[in-house]
Amino acid sequence: MSAAPEINGRMESEASASDTKAMPKVQIHGLNFFYGTNQVLRSVTMDVPALKVTALIGPSGCGKTTLLRCMNRMHDLYLGNRYEGSIVVQPDGTDILDASVDPIQVRMRFGMVFQKPNPFPKSIYENVAYGLRLQGMSRRKELDERVEKALREAALWEEVKSRLHQMAHNLSGGQQQRLCIARAIATDPDVVLFDEPTSALDPIATSKIEELIVELKKRVTVMIVTHNLQQAGRISDMTAFMYLGELIEFGDTNRMFTNPAKPQTEDYISGRFG
């Protein structure tokens, strides 16, 4: 059996046996996705476990970002996209792909952090407060508390507490991304979706954010798309390997990286293609 690449120390892990018995947070079943006539996702089925980090890996164009953006119906913003199949959120049991479901509501339950930091042209405080205001919070004291809580959870509070009302774009790239994380988690979403959150950042900023994510999973379910296999190995509990729109393999990260079941998975992980 070929050797899997050296994994730089898992940050935290839990026994996988008990996980499979817990209720999954999101159940994706038979998901097909079309950009116009182009089919990008083929019959993806997987159960995303609650309060764990699930990584989506695969070569460029495999559909991992497309899959992530199905979760909060981001594709609805552009013409010509079509979903088939179901994505059921537990414990509600609602299929969020159903036409009767309001994407705005879905997006209030799922947070998203993007590949490039995208803070609003507003102050640091107002960035984090944006989602809270959308959900009706308006009392100053309440907002102050929630903003501070979110910034602490994003490991940014100490660095910005004295300049909350300065413009967000004055922060460094890494700080901006942590601000975007704070913004996403301020509203207590059930699930946070990370789309290659550290690909534009330096290693120090990257490791800060990885630490953050591992802390975060105690409270929220995390799905993260990443190009960086070592990162997936470092922080995720479950990994999904995708290729050309199909889910090739899905399982416990440790096992997948040391003993992948499918040959394609093994080829990708050992770097034979990518």
């Binding site: 414990p91 509600d92 309001d102 705005i104 509501q105 209030m108 959308l134 959900q135 009706g136």
Partner: protein, 308 residues
């Protein structure tokens, strides 16, 4: 987090956001169509009041104190002659300036200044061009209150339009084309003449048409230099029936123009003069709208024909 309550409250918010979006979409569509509709109302209004007046007599008669006998002959001839001067001055200078600034001039403080200058000129009120023409062309250069002075005033007015259109048209050509020409040993001028100008003709022509359309509709500068509103004669013709067969006397002749004539009639009380004004306005609208429409179609076709 209690899922049920969370959902109910947020569900209401979400649906309110959706209905606000729908409402704004309807408002936006309504306002867009209404604003565009104003154009139609304008045309309809002019047609209702003036169409009846537009006939061969109207087009071939001079203005008259009797509204029923008045016509736009001197006006449209004047406009035509003016446009000859305007085009003759604005197009060469505008093209030259556009080519020079886009292809030749180094990027320094001076060219920066020139750009700010052009952008400012585009925003200078048209009447100031008339004042300049009055002081400079009419008196200083002693052209008098003539077609030449008027045509040059309008040429200065539309010069920025031609320059900007030329520059934008040249800008859309990717630099790889220029590099290909240079690599074959062409001089800069050869590259411009053989490649860049032919490829950008569509964009330049669009700009020229828009510039001329603007010039035809302008009246303030012409009033300022003293275009007379009651001209019952035509400027001398540009041709004569003896050598050298071409005459330039018309350049120094007093004149009137379509928009001036319309202005004159609008200022007179009485329905009949107002009908004349509407008729003149209708002719003006037809000319300027069709020129603009032609420019738009030309721009569309130019964009489609050459894909880089």
């Amino acid at each position: 987090m209690r899922p049920d309550l969370f959902h109910a409250l947020q569900a209401k918010r979400a649906s309110r956001r959706r209905s606000i979006d729908q409402w704004f979409r309807r408002l936006g569509l309504f306002l867009t169509l209404t604003t565009l509709g104003i154009l139609g109302i304008l045309l309809l209004n002019l047609a209702m009041n003036g169409l009846a007046r537009v006939d061969w007599n109207f087009l071939s008669s001079f203005p008259s104190r009797r509204a029923g006998e008045a016509g736009v002959l001197s006006a449209w001839v004047g406009t035509l002659l003016l446009m000859m001067v305007t085009a003759g001055a604005a197009i060469p200078f505008g093209l030259a300036a556009g080519i020079y600034l886009e292809e030749y001039a180094p990027k320094n403080r001076w060219t920066d200044f020139v750009e700010i200058n052009i952008s400012n000129l585009a925003g200078v009120p048209s009447i100031l061009y008339g004042l300049m023409a009055l002081g400079l062309f009419v008196y200083q250069f002693r052209f008098g209150q003539s077609v030449l002075a008027g045509g040059l005033a309008l040429a200065c007015l539309v010069l920025p339009i031609v320059i900007v259109a030329t520059r934008e048209a040249l800008r859309t050509i990717p630099s790889s084309i220029r590099e290909a020409a240079f690599a074959l040993g062409a001089t800069r001028w050869q590259a411009v003449w053989h490649h860049l100008l032919p490829y950008s003709t569509g964009g330049i022509a669009t700009g020229v048409i828009l510039a001329m359309s603007r010039a035809i509709g302008e009246s303030a500068p012409l009033i300022t230099i003293g275009a007379l509103t009651f001209i019952a004669f035509l400027p001398p013709a540009p041709w004569v029936d003896h050598a050298p067969f071409v005459s330039f006397d018309w350049l120094f002749s007093p004149f009137t123009a379509l928009p001036i004539q319309m202005f004159n009639w609008v200022s007179r009380p009485g329905e009949e003069f107002q009908a004349n004004a509407a008729a003149a306005g209708l002719i003006l609208m037809v000319i300027t709208l069709s020129m603009n429409a032609a420019a738009i179609l030309l721009r569309r076709r130019a964009q489609r024909n050459i894909t880089w």
